[in-house]
């Protein structure tokens, strides 16, 4: 498997702290201080209760594969990297997030596999969170 690209990630200004965390190698989950809900994706307020009193807290970085697809026809800058895995990982904190599972044999991946977050960096300072099986 070819190394996957690490594209620049444009984001809304309310997610600046989240993406600064990714650049620093830390995955921060937004949690509402009003109702306790974990808010994925981060947006600076809580859609569960309407509160703006949300905080970012470090996540465990551990999770389970909820679903996945082995892509054989990559798009854009992923063309030429096939086969690679796009997955939903269910974080131990609850949210199911889209990501890549890297570093293993795509054909041996199964739903329910335990995975751990890794950070990958591009040449121009871009950074992404991905997962490897444990």
């Amino acid at each position: 498997m070819t190394a996957l690209p690490v594209p620049e990630v444009p984001h809304l200004r309310e997610a600046e702290a989240f993406w600064s965390g990714i650049a620093a190698g830390e995955f921060l989950l937004e949690r509402c201080r009003g109702c306790g809900a974990v808010v994925w994706y981060p947006r600076g307020f809580c859609p569960s209760c309407g509160s703006s009193d949300v905080t970012l807290e470090p996540a465990s970085g551990e999770g389970t594969v909820y679903s996945f697809s082995v892509v054989h026809r990559g798009a854009g800058e992923y063309r030429g990297c096939e086969p690679y895995v796009v997955a939903y990982v269910e974080l131990d904190e609850g949210p199911r997030i889209l990501t890549n599972v890297v570093g293993g044999d795509p054909d041996s991946l199964v739903i329910g596999a335990r995975v751990r977050m890794v950070f990958e960096r591009g040449p121009d300072g871009s950074a992404l969170y991905r997962f490897t099986t444990v």
């Binding site: 994706y41 947006r43 892509v71 992923y78």
Partner: protein, 390 residues
């Protein structure tokens, strides 16, 4: 019902007090004015079940403005409107909201409008709020989202690739009779399974065709309809709903048809067993499997087994579907196949389908549209159409 019971009223308004807002994104301004109007009306956000905003955010890469915004605001809606008429859009949308309320489609509809042209736009000013978390992983167009749903459906319910393939096979059996169909060759389950894998577990032949084209539909009042000589089709019931990622608690194995379907059935006063023909949005084979379940034609998880014995094949299957060949084989114009679903249902109810696939005595049809992506966020719309004069 008195005259006043059918009316609609404006309960709350809010104007953002500021005229220069450099530090907030456009979606966040929508959120602020939404909360302001709710406070003015004395309503809670959970009271809101209709949402209207225009598409001027022009979110990239796909302008699902109102769908992205419904998720962003955490709204559970059964009525959406993204009418785009420039500056008059919010006015039009207030009228639409009033009509929707009079029709019982929603009880409290929110209209928002926002933008920040004074402040220099950032490079991502027109990006959708969820895009940062979805557009960077190499999803192979729409197919990977549906593939994630299919994989999970297989895991939870034992659905197989061969069962998914039955959807394509049935569509191809219909398309052979349609001289206009993009693909007219009958295919077998084996041919579907042997076609190239695009994004596992979906093969090339699990995907709809890519075609140019379009379609149209004219809806008229009963008074107008009575003056027409062509046989008319009654709109007996309708429903629409959204299923989004819900703060990361998304379900990959159900669609919003589980909400829009029952709404449409209730409005029409019929049930799934009364339906003679279905037009089901068939962007991918898994779309049809999940939709059959969500509409109540079988239990959740049984869709794969339901289609195994030719149930979808016209004219004599238990649930004849997409007799034009559907998006699988006939047409998916502009990557948006909804209009073709309406057109074929009307043909069936007028007994104007191709003879080999005309459902005998077709009196009641269901149309289901699936927009967005079932692997992330999607909106369903269900129509129940009946044969007969107005």
């Amino acid at each position: 019902m008195t005259e006043a019971d059918r009316g609609a009223y404006i309960a709350g308004v809010f104007e953002h007090p500021r005229r220069e807002i450099p530090e907030l994104s456009t979606p966040r301004i929508h959120a602020e004015v939404a909360f302001g109007a709710l406070a003015d009306a004395g309503l809670d956000r959970s009271d809101i079940d209709g949402y209207l905003c225009d598409g001027s955010q022009n979110f990239r890469p796909v302008a699902f403005g109102v769908l992205s915004m419904a998720e962003y605001l955490g709204l559970e809606c059964t009525y959406l409107d993204s009418t785009e008429t420039g500056g008059s859009a919010p006015v039009v949308q207030v009228a639409h909201a009033a009509a929707a309320i009079a029709a019982g489609k929603c009880q409290a509809a929110l209209v928002t409008s926002a933008g920040r042209p004074r402040s220099a736009p950032t490079s991502f000013e027109r990006g959708s709020p969820e895009g940062s978390y979805e557009d960077v992983w190499g999803m192979s167009g729409a197919v990977t989202g549906y593939a994630l749903s299919a994989q999970r459906h297989m895991h939870e319910f034992g659905t197989t690739s061969a069962q998914l393939a039955e959807v394509k096979v049935a569509a191809s059996l219909h398309a052979q009779h349609n001289p206009n169909a993009f693909l007219r060759d009958v295919v077998s389950v084996e041919e579907v399974l042997e076609s190239p894998m695009v994004s596992s577990p979906l093969h090339r032949l699990d995907c709809c065709v890519v075609t140019d084209g379009g379609g149209a539909c004219i809806v008229v009042s009963g008074a107008v309809a009575r003056k027409l000589s062509r046989p008319c089709v009654r709109v007996m019931g309708a429903g629409e709903a959204v299923r989004h990622s819900d703060l990361g608690r998304l379900s990959l194995t159900s669609t919003a048809a589980a909400v829009s379907g029952p709404m449409a059935f209730a409005a029409a006063g019929v049930s799934p067993r009364d339906i003679d023909y279905v037009s089901l949005y068939d962007s991918f084979t898994i779309t049809v499997i999940e939709t059959i379940e969500d509409l109540g034609f079988c239990e959740k998880g049984e869709g794969g087994r339901f289609v195994m014995d030719g149930a979808l094949v016209a004219p004599h299957g238990r649930l004849p579907f997409n007799t034009d060949g559907g998006g699988m084989c006939n047409n998916h114009p502009g990557n948006r196949g909804g209009i073709t679903k309406v057109v074929e249902a009307v043909r069936q109810l007028r007994s104007e389908a191709f003879p080999a696939v005309q459902v005998p005595d077709c009196g009641l049809a269901l149309v289901n549209g699936t927009g967005g992506n079932i692997g992330t966020r999607m909106a369903s719309a269900t129509l129940i159409l009946g044969r007969g004069d107005a």
